[in-house]
Subunit: 92 residues, 4 copies
Amino acid sequence: MFDEGDAGTDTSAATVGGIAADRLRSIIERVERLEEERKALAADIKDIFTEAKSAGFDVRTIRHIIRIRRQDPAAVEEQESLLDIYRRALGM
Amino acid sequence: MFDEGDAGTDTSAATVGGIAADRLRSIIERVERLEEERKALAADIKDIFTEAKSAGFDVRTIRHIIRIRRQDPAAVEEQESLLDIYRRALGM
Amino acid sequence: MFDEGDAGTDTSAATVGGIAADRLRSIIERVERLEEERKALAADIKDIFTEAKSAGFDVRTIRHIIRIRRQDPAAVEEQESLLDIYRRALGM
Amino acid sequence: MFDEGDAGTDTSAATVGGIAADRLRSIIERVERLEEERKALAADIKDIFTEAKSAGFDVRTIRHIIRIRRQDPAAVEEQESLLDIYRRALGM
């Protein structure tokens, strides 16, 4: 499974139970740092939406706008036209 | 909601704007019925967990047990053994 | 420690390690049965969408229609009107 | 499309259909920039896991370790002990 081999060729190569512990720890800590940054960005985004709400904007609509802007305009138009056709067919 | 009128006559094959409206409505209503059943099942499951909690069980642990039982026992064992190895390597 | 031995005897109300094992098992098995039913319903829904696609319908639009029908019509109208206002304001 | 200018000056207050268009545009663009950064971080995290896999580590186990490290150690210990008790009760 974890054959030692060259899996941990740091020169120090502390292997604990066949695991390159230093390498593993480094990987985990790097991911954790990036996760922290993501959390901070998520909080920043939340703050902007709070500000938007205070300014009287509808947050749900803003999110919808952002979703639309992310897509190809031609695709958006096609979807909206299809939706319209289906709604008419259903008498909605 | 969608009253019959002539909308439900299979023989007429009403097309509205090029759409087979009856067929579309039938598809939608069948999905909606199944979604209702799913919601009812979800409520039943929630009730069982409420009952479990009242009986003094830890719901989170029960959910974990159910997740484990869903998996192949050999796979579970391997994962737990790997987790153990990694934790030891990290001194956790 | 766990001297009860046969954990599955319904009449004895076996407690294993302070846990009412029969009760716990019954709770888990009931949840699992309901989960099975939910999975079956999800498969049925998927089949209907496959059928819809074969019949030439756009599944994404059907899902959108179902989402709209789930909501209060007045709320849907208000959202769509707001979206329209915001798009115009942004020149979209 | 969205010219720079002073998008945030309250005095200019370009209102389109009763909407402070500049303010709305500024809010949306700030959210979009932060979303871009989040996507970049997600890609960085994915790269680290790819690297981990190449080095022979089990990514699923690393994710599990990260989840455990995020929690209070006492809470983790309690959960694991409960899980153990329930499994024994169920003869798992």
